[in-house]
């Protein structure tokens, strides 16, 4: 059982993730904007945050930067939720130190798998996986600009 925070302004996304996560035995809380996400990260230091990029008030990247600066970064694993077809966002997420990302629309059960996979990694495994993902996202983001998408 892990403590998980969802930060997303889309009620449908929140609902689908909440249901999938509580049914796997996790304790879940949610916030609807970036300001509250930062506050909640410091307040409850969840094991993992599902952090949407596009949120009103303060976007997910700013929240991640604030988390990095807070001294609490090591306590929480960060899985970012980005829109489909934006490799730039994925790249930026990894450059800012996100642990993983999923693109919307997604299957909540797949997200749960990813969440649990992420929580099972040791900090060393996590570091390696982050580096690999950063390399991959840089490559994909280059491809995206070459192909003129996004």
């Amino acid at each position: 059982m892990a403590r998980i925070l969802i930060a997303d302004d889309d009620a449908d996304v929140r609902q689908s993730l909440v249901i999938a996560l509580v049914d796997r035995g996790h304790e879940v809380a949610a916030v609807l904007d970036g300001h509250k996400a930062t506050a909640a990260l410091m307040d409850v230091t969840p094991d993992l945050i599902l952090l949407d990029v596009m949120m009103p008030g303060k976007d997910g990247f700013v929240v991640l930067e604030e988390l990095n600066a807070s001294g609490f970064r090591d306590l929480t694993r960060v899985l970012m939720l980005t829109s489909k077809g934006s490799e730039q966002n994925a790249r930026r997420a990894f450059e800012l130190g996100a642990d993983a990302y999923v693109t919307k629309p997604f299957d909540p059960l797949e997200v749960v798998k990813q969440v649990e996979g992420l929580l099972a990694l040791s900090s060393e495994e996590l570091r390696i996986s982050r580096e690999r993902e950063l390399d991959r996202s840089r490559l994909l983001s280059q491809l995206e600009s070459i192909l003129g998408e996004g």
């Binding site: 909440v18 035995g25 809380a29």
Partner: protein
Amino acid sequence: MKETTVGTARILVADDDPDLRGLLCGILIDEGHKVAAASDGRRALESILNDAPDLVVLDVMMPHMDGFSVLKGMAEAGVSNVKVLMVTARSAETDWAEGFRLGADYYVTKPFDPAELTEAVITVLTSTKAELAAQRVHLLDKAEMLSQLETVFDPR
């Protein structure tokens, strides 16, 4: 009052109906609570004994162990600091009274709308156990009356 955006309370939702469980969790999450869930009574009791939440939203009719048995299990284990909001079916008029006798603090009847649930949760969380107990005495009187009426109109 400090404005808390999250972590207002830790709530366990115990309901075997996945739709209702999802609805309950969704409502409570959006109210800023930390929510966990159990799909039957046995798991609910395990979870309560393992890591006591502030509040349990407890369905009466569940497989393996019903809500009443969960209340009995809590009492036997000496759990006294966890509040219980019972979710009862409207057709079973006196279930909530039985719940009260076994230590539940408050109840909502199915079907309920989100506002009703929210209001009940706020009432339970902002009242002390003693205040809720005082209210219960009053409600139990009413239940006694209803139960008598039920026997009169629906003798089984």
